[in-house]
Amino acid sequence: MGINSKPVVFAVISAAVILVGTVATVFIPLFIPSTQPVSPYVKPYTAVELEGRDIYIREGCNNCHTQTVRPLRTEVLRYGEYSKPEEFAYDRPFLWGSRRTGPDLNRIGGKYPDSWHYSHMQSPQRLFQKSNMPPYGWMAKNRLDTSNSFKKTSILGYGYTESDVKNQIDSCRSRVTAESYASKESRNQVTPPELQKDLTEMDAIIAYLQKLGRDVKNMEAAK
C-alpha cells in the first residue's frame, strides 16, 4: 500500500473516511428542520427559569436525572406522556442525560407544589430516608445572581428586552416573597431571614423544575 509511506496523504484520507458518517448522520440533520421542530405552544424559559437551569447544570443534576420519557408503556405510566422533539427547541445544551439514578424529570413541572420542592431539596432524606440524592439546602443561602440574565437570554435568542428580563425577575421575586405565597412556610424554613425578601438559587431551580413538561401539555391538548 503506497499511502503507508506518505503520512500526510494518509491523514487526509483518514479524515475523509471519518467524515462520511459524520456528514450523513450529524451535519446533514443539522440543516433539516424536522430534526428540531418548533411549536408555538412551547415557550422559551423566563430569565429566572434559565438561571435555575444553569444551576441544574452547575450542580450536575443530569448525572442522576434524565429528561426524556421514552415511548414505552411502563415508562409513560411512571412519568407521563413521552417526550416530543418540540419540547427541546430552547434547550442549549440539551439535558436528556444517560443515567437514571434518580427518576426522570421531564414531567416534573406541576407534579408537586413548590413547598414540596423546598423541603425535598433541603433534605431528600427527610422525605425519603433511603434516597441517595445529595441535600442542597445551601442553595437557599445563596442570593441569585441575575447580573448576566439579560445577556444570557439574548445569546440564546429568546427575544426578551432588558426590561422584559427585569420584569420577569421582579415578578418572580414578588410571587415567592408575597405573604399570600402558598409555599411561604416551607420557603421560610429553608431560607435564612436576611434572604427571605430576595431571590435565592433555590427559588430559581424550583422555578425551572416547575416549568419542565408544562408547555407540551398545551401542545398535546391542541392536537
Binding site: 500500500m1 503507508n4 503520512p7 500526510v8 494518509f10 491523514a11 483518514s14 479524515a15 473516511v17 471519518i18 458518517g21 459524520t22 450523513a24 448522520t25 450529524v26 440533520p29 443539522l30 430534526t35 428540531q36 447544570i57 452547575r58 450542580e59 450536575g60 443530569n62 448525572n63 442522576c64 426524556t68 421514552r70 414505552l72 411502563t74 415508562e75 405510566l77 417526550s83 422533539p85 419540547e87 427541546f88 427547541a89 430552547y90 434547550d91 442549549r92 445544551p93 440539551f94 436528556w96 442525560g97 444517560s98 443515567r99 437514571r100 439514578t101 434518580g102 427518576p103 432524606q125 425519603f128 433511603k130 434516597s131 441517595n132 445529595p134 441535600p135 445551601w138 445577556k151 445569546i155
Partner: protein
C-alpha cells in the same frame, strides 16, 4: 541536551513525564471514583457543594479519561513514534512544553469542575477557556506527530502509526465541532446547537471520543507492544489493514445508539444500530489477530507476565465489542438504557481493556528507557490478579444490578399498574453498590502496587541525567 538522549538520540524525557502523569491522574481519578461509589449507597459523603455527587462524578470521568487516558496515550505515542520511525522527536522542546501545559490544564480542569464550571455535555464538560487550551495542546502534539513522521528514517509506517494518525485527526474534528459555544462570562458559555441537534452532535462526539481515546490508540499500543514483549510478529498484516479502515469508517455512524427511543429522528437511530453490529467485524479482526499471534506459543501466558496483560486485555475488548452492539439493539436497549448494566459495560472497557494494556505498555517501556530490569515481576503478577478480580467483581455486580433494575422498572401488577416505586428499585441496589465499592478497593490496591513497581524501577539505577 546530549546526555539526556539514548542510543539513537531518542528523547525519552517526555515519555517518562507522561508516564508519571498518567499514573498520578489514575490514582487521583480512582480516589474520586471510590468516593462517588460510596455516595451512591450513603449520601453522607456529600459533605460540601464541591464534594456532591453531581460535581464529583464529572471529576472522575474527566480525571480518568483526559488525565489518565490521554497521558497514557501521549506517553506511549511519543515512544512508538520514535522507535517506529527510527527518528528522534522532531521538536523535543515543544514536546516538553506539551507535557507541562497538559498537566496544568488537567489540574485546572479538576479545579473548575469541582467549582461547578461545567457545560453538562458528557466528556466535553470543560468550559470554553479550557477548550481553547485543549485545542492548543492537541496542536502541539499533532505538530510533533507529523513533524516526526515527515522526518522519519523508516519508510513504511507500521500499523500502530496509522492508529495514532487517525486519532490525531479525528479527535481534533470531534472536539472542535462539539465544543462550538458562545461565551457569556469567562466561566460560562452556551453551545451553538439546540435540543435534538445538540443531543445528536454530543453523542456523535462522546461515542467517538471514547472510541478514539479508549480504543484506537490502545489498539496502537496493542499492535506494537504485544509483538515487542512476546518476540512474535503480528499474525496478519492484511487483516490489520482491513480492520483499521473498517473500524474508523464505521465508528462515526454509531453515536445515536446512545439516543435510542429519544426524540431523535428514528432513521439516525436505525443507521446507528446497523453500523454498531457491523463494528463487531473489525473489532474482532484485531482480537483474532492478537490470539493468532500467540499461536503455538500459548505457554507465554504462564511464562511471560506481559503476554498475560495484553491477551486478557484484548479479551475484554472482544467482550466489550460484543456487549456494545447487543445492548444497542432497540428492544434490548429499551431494557438496559439508563441502568447500571451500562455502567458495568463502561468499566469492563476501562478497568479491563484500557488499564490492562496501558499498564503492560508501561511495564515494557519504563525498564527499556531506564536501562534497568523491572523492579519486581512478582509484584506485576499481584497487580494483574488484583485488577482482574477487582474488575470482574465490579462489572458482574453491575450487570446483575442492571438487570434487576430494568426488571423492576418494567414490572406491572395483573391490573396493569406499576409494581415498584422508583425508590424500591434504587434501594434494592444498595447491596450491589456496597459490593462494587469493595471491588473498587481491590482494584485500587492493584493500581497502587503498579505505581510502586514503576516507581521502584525508575529508582533502581540512576536514569540518564535530566536537563
Amino acid at each position: 541536551m546530549e546526555e539526556s538522549m539514548s542510543e539513537a538520540g531518542y528523547d525519552y524525557r517526555v515519555v517518562r513525564g507522561f508516564t508519571y502523569s498518567a499514573i498520578f491522574w489514575l490514582v487521583i481519578g480512582l480516589v474520586v471514583g471510590l468516593w462517588i461509589a460510596f455516595e451512591m449507597f450513603d449520601p453522607a459523603l456529600n459533605l460540601t457543594p464541591w464534594l456532591s455527587f453531581g460535581r464529583l462524578r464529572v471529576v472522575h470521568t474527566n480525571g480518568l479519561g483526559l488525565g489518565f487516558g490521554l497521558a497514557g496515550v501521549f506517553a506511549t505515542a511519543y515512544y512508538m513514534l520514535q522507535r517506529l520511525t527510527r527518528t528522534p522527536i522532531a521538536f523535543p522542546r515543544l514536546a516538553l512544553a506539551h507535557l507541562y501545559l497538559f498537566n496544568a490544564a488537567i489540574a485546572l480542569a479538576a479545579v473548575t469542575l469541582f467549582a461547578g464550571m461545567n457545560t453538562s455535555k458528557e466528556y466535553a464538560e470543560l468550559e470554553w477557556p479550557l477548550d481553547i487550551g485543549v485545542v492548543i495542546i492537541w496542536v502541539m502534539f499533532a505538530v510533533n506527530v507529523f513533524g516526526t513522521l515527515i522526518k522519519r528514517k523508516e519508510k513504511q509506517m507500521y500499523i500502530s502509526l496509522w492508529y495514532i494518525v487517525a486519532m490525531t485527526v479525528t479527535v481534533a474534528v470531534l472536539y472542535i465541532v462539539n465544543n462550538l459555544e458562545i461565551p457569556v462570562t469567562l466561566f460560562k458559555s452556551y453551545t451553538v446547537y439546540s435540543g435534538t441537534n445538540d443531543a445528536n452532535v454530543e453523542w456523535w462526539y462522546a461515542h467517538n471520543i471514547v472510541g478514539f481515546i479508549f480504543t484506537v490508540p490502545v489498539l496502537a499500543m496493542f499492535y506494537y507492544f504485544l509483538p515487542k514483549s512476546t518476540g512474535l510478529p503480528i499474525y496478519s498484516h492484511r487483516l490489520s489493514i482491513v480492520s483499521f479502515w473498517a473500524l474508523i469508517f464505521a465508528y462515526l455512524w454509531t453515536g445515536a445508539h446512545h439516543l435510542m427511543l429519544t426524540p431523535l429522528p428514528e432513521w439516525i437511530q436505525t443507521v446507528a444500530i446497523a453500523f454498531s453490529i457491523f463494528l463487531i467485524a473489525p473489532s474482532w479482526g484485531s482480537v483474532l489477530n492478537g490470539y493468532y499471534t500467540l499461536q503455538g506459543n500459548w505457554d507465554q501466558m504462564r511464562t511471560n507476565y506481559l503476554a498475560k496483560f495484553f491477551i486478557v486485555g484484548i479479551t475484554f475488548y472482544g467482550l466489550q465489542t460484543i456487549q456494545g452492539p447487543t445492548q444497542g439493539l432497540r428492544t434490548l436497549n429499551a431494557f438496559f438504557h439508563y441502568t447500571d448494566w451500562v455502567v458495568g459495560h463502561v468499566h469492563m472497557g476501562t478497568m479491563g481493556w484500557v488499564t490492562m494494556v496501558i499498564s503492560a505498555s508501561f511495564y515494557y517501556m519504563i525498564p527499556k528507557i531506564s536501562r534497568a530490569d523491572l523492579y519486581s515481576i512478582k509484584l506485576a503478577n499481584i497487580h494483574f490478579w488484583l485488577i482482574l478480580v477487582g474488575q470482574l467483581v465490579w462489572t458482574i455486580t453491575m450487570w446483575i444490578g442492571g438487570i434487576q433494575q430494568g426488571a423492576m422498572w418494567k414490572a406491572t401488577n395483573p391490573d396493569g399498574s406499576l409494581m415498584y416505586s422508583f425508590l424500591d428499585g434504587l434501594t434494592s441496589l444498595y447491596p450491589y453498590y456496597r459490593l462494587r465499592f469493595i471491588a473498587g478497593v481491590i482494584y485500587f490496591i492493584g493500581i497502587l502496587v503498579f505505581a510502586w513497581n514503576i516507581y521502584m524501577t525508575t529508582r533502581k539505577q540512576p536514569v540518564e541525567a535530566e536537563v
